[in-house]
């Protein structure tokens, strides 16, 4: 077991590392997960979370979701709610891929209808949605229009004809963070990201065709509310972010904050990847405005990708996307910092909630949810490994214990190097084909790095999130086709 001796169970599927585990902690660390998941976490997860617990202004606890694994600065699967008046904003609490997120899309097609054309469909998707290094999207914008993208997010894409109003209603924040201000974005970030609208990227980014089997439904009524109505229904899930634009925003401000922390703010640098600035400082507000631009670029990116998915399905099945029932279920981020209202010790407060590899999971009745989902709660999309499947969950009222945050994926258990030593990309592709999963990968080495055995079991993660009371399972989705970045 890698977990430190000081870790104590405090509630079902909830563990706590007390203040004092390391010097400077302002709040405890709270870890959600089953005994098995927590015992498998590397001790770096706890060290990094304890460093997060030292951040100025942090409220209640530094949280680790059930899929947590160690990263840089924050653990992946880390959440920190920070008082914006007295506290900081940290790019390391968001990640380089700002607003990396998931979108789940229904179709009215069933698996028996899709199966005969699966290879053709995966090829059509791979053709229309560029993946991998150096690929550019089909959308061309000038500088002025790209700044519109940064201000408007997914709304820009819909205005240009790449989607419909209902897509926006079913996107977190309607696909636009209003505090975006392109004045705080470098020309370098714009040059890097401008050609990349409508591209997947690489690493763990993917676009997957999935099937809903009757045995995978945990809550039938809720599944129906989210458009999962038919046995053997085919859906599409994809995972990507703000591409080089967001990466450059994060890089730019990491350097800015590292310079300003000791010199201007007198803040100690606990870990360079926890570089931060007071939220109310000039630097902090500038990063927040730029980060919101990157979030909007990402919402626009996923909206344009959805347009391309609709076109690919239409090409293959010879019917209009509308006739094929290609509808957004929800689009949700797992790499952001957002100002949200939460109750803390009976008092409602505005907090800057950093989620890095953690999904917002608002409960039934939350005013920020679209009207059609407000009575049931927010759909939560957890991407599993490309071999084992993914999950749709829903936000619950008891999720206030994690500032309405839950897991975002399976969580890695193995490094990319180790995964490559265990299997070649070609062998994995053949193995997946034997299991009926058609894969098109931009890089076979990248494919091997994402093998199912390199991840925790998504069933365990989803069950742990439910046991911890931070979200509830709705349906398990099984992969049949994958375009891998």
């Amino acid at each position: 077991m890698s977990a430190p001796a000081e870790l104590r169970r405090v509630a079902p599927a909830t563990f706590e590392l007390p203040v004092g585990f390391r010097d400077g902690m302002r709040v405890p660390v709270r870890v959600f997960g089953t005994d098995a998941l927590v015992s498998e976490m590397d001790d770096q997860v706890f060290r990094q979370a304890a460093n997060v617990a030292c951040l100025p202004g942090i409220v209640e606890a530094a949280f680790c979701m059930p899929d947590a694994h160690w990263g840089y600065g924050f653990p992946i699967g880390g959440v920190a709610a920070i008082d914006p008046e007295s506290g900081v904003i940290s790019p390391g609490g968001i990640g380089f891929d700002i607003n990396c997120g998931m979108r789940l899309v229904t179709t009215s097609l069933t698996w028996p209808e899709v199966r005969p054309r699966l290879t053709q469909l995966v090829d059509a998707l791979a053709e229309r949605v560029p993946a991998g290094t150096g690929r550019r999207g089909f959308v061309r914008t000038g500088l002025r229009e790209f700044r519109d993208v940064l201000r408007e997010g997914a709304g820009w894409a819909v205005r240009k004809g790449y989607g419909v109003e209902r897509d926006l209603e079913r996107t977190e924040a309607r696909g636009c963070l209003a505090d975006a201000d392109p004045e705080y974005v470098s020309e370098r970030a714009i040059r890097r990201g401008k050609p990349q609208i409508g591209t997947l990227g690489s690493g763990n980014h993917y676009l997957e065709i999935q099937v809903l089997h009757a045995r995978g439904v945990h809550d039938e009524a809720l599944a129906r509310r989210f458009g999962l109505c038919e046995p053997e229904q085919v859906v599409v899930m994809f995972h990507c972010g703000s591409r080089g634009f967001g990466h450059q925003v994060a890089t730019d401000y990491l350097h800015t904050f590292l310079r300003a922390m000791p010199e201007k703010f007198g803040l100690p640098v606990v870990d360079r990847e926890l570089a931060c600035a007071p939220f109310r400082s000039e630097e902090g507000r500038a990063y927040y405005a730029a980060m919101c631009c990157a979030a909007n670029m990402s919402f626009a990116n996923r909206q344009v990708i959805l347009h391309q998915i609709r076109e690919a399905f239409s090409d293959v099945f010879g019917r209009d996307p509308e006739a094929l029932g290609i509808e957004t279920v929800y689009d949700v981020s797992h790499n952001t910092a957002k100002l949200e209202r939460h109750r803390v010790a009976g008092e409602e407060r505005t907090l800057l909630v950093h989620r890095k590899g953690a999904t917002r999971a608002f409960p039934p009745g939350h005013p920020e949810l679209p009207a059609e989902y407000r009575d049931v709660g927010q759909p939560v999309i957890i991407g599993g490994s490309m071999e084992t499947g993914s999950y749709l969950l829903v936000g619950v009222s008891s999720g206030d214990r994690s500032f309405f945050s839950t897991a975002h994926g399976s969580g890695r258990t193995m490094s990319r190097r180790q995964a490559r030593k265990r299997v070649s990309g070609r062998a994995l592709q053949e193995r997946m084909a034997k299991h009926g999963i058609v894969v098109r990968a931009a890089s076979l080495r990248g494919l091997a790095e994402e093998a199912g055995f390199a991840y925790k079991d998504v069933e365990d993660v989803a069950a742990a999130a439910e046991a911890a009371g931070i979200s509830r399972r709705v349906a398990h989705l099984v992969p049949v086709g994958n375009v891998k970045g």
């Binding site: 694994h69 990263g71 840089y72 600065g73 380089f96 690493g203 450059q248 360079r272 990847e273």
Partner: protein
């Protein structure tokens, strides 16, 4: 340029970490650039010298110079579609550290290049550029 080498090492499971070594700071930086290329491209040796760029950077600390150097190469890959390696590189210190490098390489060509990871950024996690009894070493973690 000389005599550096690199290898990928275990680190954060979602990322790629490397250790580069060389007899001088310059050689370790060049080897770090090769590690980035090896993360990006299946056959870095086949990269042809069709384009050149000049890179000048100033930093106060050696490891931050390494971070800036790697992130400049990543920026040029996305912004100009260029895969580049340093062919000459000098670091001088006059209060600040100044890096002056000539970069050579070519544009991304999916027909000829087998591309690997689309490295998002070099992170500051575990970042090191320092002199050791055995020469210089550079360590960094790449977010992929």
């Amino acid at each position: 340029m000389s005599a550096g080498s690199f290898r990928f090492v275990e680190g954060a499971p979602g990322d790629l970490s490397f250790l580069a070594r060389g007899p001088t700071a310059e050689a370790a930086l060049v080897a770090a650039g090769e590690a980035l290329l090896a993360a990006t491209l299946e056959d870095p040796a086949a990269l042809e010298a069709r384009e050149t760029r000049r890179l000048r950077l100033t930093e106060t600390e050696a490891d931050l110079l390494l971070l800036r150097f790697l992130n400049e190469l990543i920026y040029l890959r996305d912004a100009e579609q260029l895969l580049l390696r340093p062919t000459t590189l000098r670091v001088t210190r006059d209060g600040a550290l100044r890096l002056d490098a000539r970069l050579e390489g070519e544009r991304v060509d999916p027909a000829r290049h087998t591309l690997l990871s689309d490295v998002k950024a070099a992170t500051a996690h575990g970042l090191v550029l320092r002199e050791t009894p055995d020469g210089w070493e550079a360590r960094a973690t790449l977010d992929v």
